[in-house]
Structure formats: structure tokens, C-alpha cells
């Protein structure tokens, strides 16, 4: 009896490609939930000025450190207030706006930079290729946090600089992927055909090679977006990213840390939003990777 059980159990380790025991529905539910969350965050970010119940810097000294509604707070402040009586929900909404802006801007810059350099390396080859790949190796060898902190020490901090800094993160992965894909795509028949018609290099890359690479680049972008959200919030949490009076999700957690003993909700609400956003982005990235036709 026990041997039969052992055999069944051992066989279950092997799975054929057609094996249906891996649930197919679960990733889909996860994907839809994640998409709803991200779209919701984007809507909040776009409409922050309209839907926010208060101005994020509005102080009300008689309602300081009021807890959230379900924990004995008042209806006026759904998520409670902080040490100056500023509404946590209002600050959260504005923080989502800033964080989304930085994350989207950073990811856009890093994708643009990486894909352009990757294409250049693939097309020009030779010394350019070697140079780009050496830069890629160096960027990959040193943890980005170190680079980021060094740059912040030397150049200080402003929103524009910070977005550019975050945009430097992860370009090396896009460059590597774009270079690899372009090297394959430029030998395809339709690209060769376009070349015989004397199409310019820019035209070939924009109209023929970029569309062929786009699906993989988009998957890479969603992964990059996850990392950018985490990087931005970590740097802001350490007090080295977004500076007050602006608030991002990370720096809300950072300031809320000082009131952990008495007012846990100040740090917990933005922290949960960061975690949920990162998990949602990661789920979308995984689902896209599985959906992508080979």
C-alpha cells in the first residue's frame, strides 16, 4: 500500500506539458485584480486634485493624531490624521500621484536609453558595441543603490534630477535585451527586403525592428516599473529621495516611522499601497510573460 502511494507521489513530481493540475484560473484572476489596482492608482494619480478631500498640507490642530474610521476615528478623516492634523487620505492620494509620476518617468527614461543604446550597439557593431556592452557590464556589476547614493551625495536632490537618477536604473537590462533582439530581427527577410528598397536605417528600426522587439520590451518595462516603484520608495523612505513639502509613498512611511508607537496608521497606509502596487505590477509582468507567444 505504501509503495503505491510512494509511486504516485513520486510521479506527481514529473509533469507533462499538457498536465492540467497547475491551476489556469488563478493567474487570470490575479491578472485582472492587479490590472484593476493599477488602473485605480493611475486614476487616483490623474484626478488627485479633484478627489482629494483636503489639501495635503492643510493643518487642523484640534484633530491631531486622530485614528482611522474603523479604529475609533471620525468620519471627516477616513484614514486618520498625522501629527500636524493633516488628513492621511489626502496625503496618500497626492503621494500616489508623485510616486506614479516618478515611477513612470523613470521607467520611460531607462527604457528609452536602454533600447536606443541596444539598437545602436546592434546596428553599428565594432567599437560602439564593445563600449556599450562594457558600460552594461559595469552597471550590472555595481548595485544600483550604491550609484544612486553616490550621485545624491555629490549632486544633491531635486525632482528632475531624482527622476533622471531613477531612470538610470535598469537601462542595462533593456539594452541587453534590445541588442539581442535587434541582432536577430535585422536578419529577417522583411528587413532585408526593406534594405534592398533603400530604406533608411532609422526607418528600418522604427518600422520593422522595433515592432518585432516591442512585446519583449514591454514585459521588461513592467518588471522595470516594479523595481522603480520599490527603488523610489526606498530612497524616499531613507530621506534621500522626494523631499518635503512634496510627499511620496516612501517618504510618508519614513515620517510615519517616528510615530509608530502612537499613530501606526500614518506609516501603515502608504506602506500597504506600495506593497500592493509592487505585487500587482509583478503579477502583471508574470502574466504577460506567460501570455507572450514564443
Amino acid at each position: 500500500m505504501s509503495t503505491i502511494w510512494a509511486r504516485d507521489w513520486t510521479w506527481s513530481v514529473f509533469r507533462s506539458p499538457k498536465d492540467g493540475r497547475i491551476p489556469r484560473r488563478l493567474p487570470k484572476i490575479g491578472f485582472y485584480g492587479a490590472s484593476i489596482w493599477i488602473v485605480g492608482c493611475l486614476l487616483i494619480a490623474a484626478l488627485a486634485q479633484v478627489i482629494s478631500p483636503y489639501h495635503p498640507a492643510q493643518i487642523s490642530l484640534d484633530a491631531r493624531l486622530s485614528p482611522p474610521l474603523l479604529f475609533g476615528g471620525a468620519l471627516e478623516h477616513l484614514l486618520g490624521t498625522d501629527e500636524l492634523g493633516r488628513d492621511v487620505l489626502a496625503r496618500l492620494i497626492y503621494s500616489i500621484q508623485i510616486s506614479m509620476l516618478v515611477a513612470a518617468g523613470g521607467t520611460f527614461i531607462s527604457t528609452l536609453l536602454g533600447v536606443s543604446l541596444g539598437f545602436l550597439a546592434a546596428e553599428l557593431g565594432g567599437l560602439v558595441d564593445d563600449g556599450v556592452m562594457a558600460l552594461v557590464d559595469m552597471q550590472a556589476a555595481v548595485p544600483f543603490m550604491i550609484t544612486a547614493l553616490l550621485v545624491i551625495t555629490i549632486f544633491g536632490n531635486s525632482l528632475a534630477l531624482f527622476v533622471c537618477l531613477v531612470g538610470l536604473h535598469g537601462w542595462e537590462r533593456h539594452a541587453r535585451i534590445a541588442r539581442g533582439l535587434a541582432l536577430t530581427a535585422r536578419n529577417r527577410l522583411h528587413v532585408t527586403a526593406a534594405r534592398t528598397y533603400n530604406a533608411s536605417r532609422v526607418h528600418i528600426y522604427a518600422r520593422h525592428i522595433l515592432p518585432a522587439c516591442a512585446p519583449t520590451i514591454v514585459v521588461g518595462m513592467t518588471l522595470g516599473l516594479t523595481e522603480t516603484v520599490l527603488l523610489e520608495s526606498t530612497l524616499s523612505f531613507l530621506g534621500l529621495g522626494i523631499q518635503p513639502p512634496m510627499s511620496s509613498l516612501g517618504n510618508m512611511v519614513g515620517f510615519g516611522r517616528d510615530y509608530l508607537m502612537t499613530a501606526w496608521w500614518i506609516a501603515l497606509a502608504p506602506g500597504l499601497v506600495i506593497a500592493a502596487t509592487a505585487i500587482a505590477l509583478m503579477t502583471i509582468s508574470e502574466s504577460l510573460r506567460q501570455m507572450r507567444p514564443r
Binding site: A6, I152, T153
Partner: protein
Amino acid sequence: MRRKAQKVVASKIARAFVTLVLMVTSVFILMRCAGDPVAVLLGPDATADMRAAYSGELGLDRPILVQYLAYLHNVVRGSLGVSYVYRQDALGVVLSHLPLTLMLTCSALTLAAVTGIAGGIAAAVFPSSFIGRACTIASLVGLCVPSFFLAIVLMLVFSIQLNWLPTGGAESWRSLALPAVTMGAASSAVLARYTRVAVRESLDSQYVLAAFVRGIPFSRILIHHVLPNAAVPILTILGLLIGGAVTGSTVVETVFSWPGIGNLFVTSVGSRDIPVVQAIVLLAGTAMIMTNLAVDLGSTWLDPRSNSSET
């Protein structure tokens, strides 16, 4: 064959050396971009004479190439300037913080290695069971929840609500527990993910099926056939985590006020203590490049096939 292997090893060492030189060079360029070091040192009230005298003393009036070579010489000798805050040798300040960071990293990584590898194997071997799915989901969550938030939640539960463990400091093993668990959780999630993929790949291969058909018990297949083949990616990730100890510990050390290098890093960035930041960057970068090299050579030794894929 042997000469080829020697060539591969030599080229890997050469590449690591080039990366090292590139890193030092880019630090030098960044430092020069930072603005006039004399103005920073002397403050806005200094006269032109004082500035000229001081820049002569520091060698800033020499050609840039000579300055660069002098800088390389100093880096090799380990003299990286005097900390603005501590008024001591910057490298000495950094090294005095090293033991506590190593202690934290070692305990965190031991924890991460045990839980991460075990969780990854479980997720690969029982992909559809409760344990397997729990491990997969836990590693996804561990990867996405930023460590500062995990730290705060743990602090809320174990320090503030239950009052079992202190919120910070480095007095006893009790203050080590929360930072080590926080830091270990993130590393464990990364390890579990890579372990799952590597073990799964190995399980799906023909030689495992062949071993199974020969009637070898599953435990033996797992230990003698699957794990050795999955070892290279796992060791690579472990090596990267060791090399990135300083980076990995910045957040955790700051939250729990653990007086290690990561904490020093963040406070030095905050106070613009450039010599200390530079010392940490060079130290951490060198550690990373060296562990990368060690992992690279180690995986060549463990799995000679990876030689052939080298270009």
C-alpha cells in the same frame, strides 16, 4: 583543454580588473564633477590666496591626468581622505563599522539560505500542493514588499504590541533578531525563486527521468542528480547576495538603528560626508566585483559546461 580553461580564467580575472578600474575612474570623474573641493573644504569666506595655496597643497593645480594617477595611487594605498564629520581617516571609520554589518549579514544570509533553498525545492517538487503554492506566493510577496515596510510591520508586532524584542540598537542577540529576519526575508524570497526555477528545470530533464526509470529512490535522485545540477544558479544568487551585503543592509540598518556600514552610508549621504561615501562605494563595489569573480570561477569549476558558452 587545460590551456583553454586557463585562458578562460585569465580572461575572467582581466575583465574583473577592467571593471574595477572603470569603477574607480567613474568615482573619480563624479567627484570632480561635484564642484571645487577647495570651496567645500574652506567654506565661502576663504580668500583667493587661501584657495590658491590650498589647491597647490592638494595638487589640484596639476594636470588632470597627473591628478588621476595620484588618485589611483591613493586608492591603492587605502588613503581615501579624512571624514568631514568624524575628523578621522575615512577608510578607518568605515572599517570600524564593518564587524556589525558582517554579523548582521551572516545571520540574515544563513536564515535566507536555509529557508529560501528549502522553500524553492518544495515549490519545485510539489508545484500544485498547498506547501508548494504557499512557497511560491510567499516568495512573490517577499520580493515585492519593500524591506522598510516589512521592518515596520515586524517592529509594530514584536516590539510595540507584544514587547518581546527591542526596536533598535545592537546590544544583545535580541536586537539582532528583527533586523536579521527582515534582511533574510528579502534574500530568501530571491533565493527561493531562483531555486524553484533551477530545480524545476533539472527535474524536467531526461537524466532525472532516466534515473527514475532505473528505480533509484526519489530522495537519492533529488540529492545526487537534481541538486548538483541546480547548484550553479543557486550559488550565483547566493554570491550576489553576499557581495551586495552593504547595499542590502542600508535600509534594515537604518530602520533598526543598527550601527553598521549601511547605516553609516545613509547618514554620510545625508551629511554630505564625501570621503566616507567614497570609501564605502569603493569598498562595496570592490566586494561586489570580487564576489562576482569568485562566483564566476566557482561555477566554472562546478559546471565545466559553462566554459563553452563563454564568448
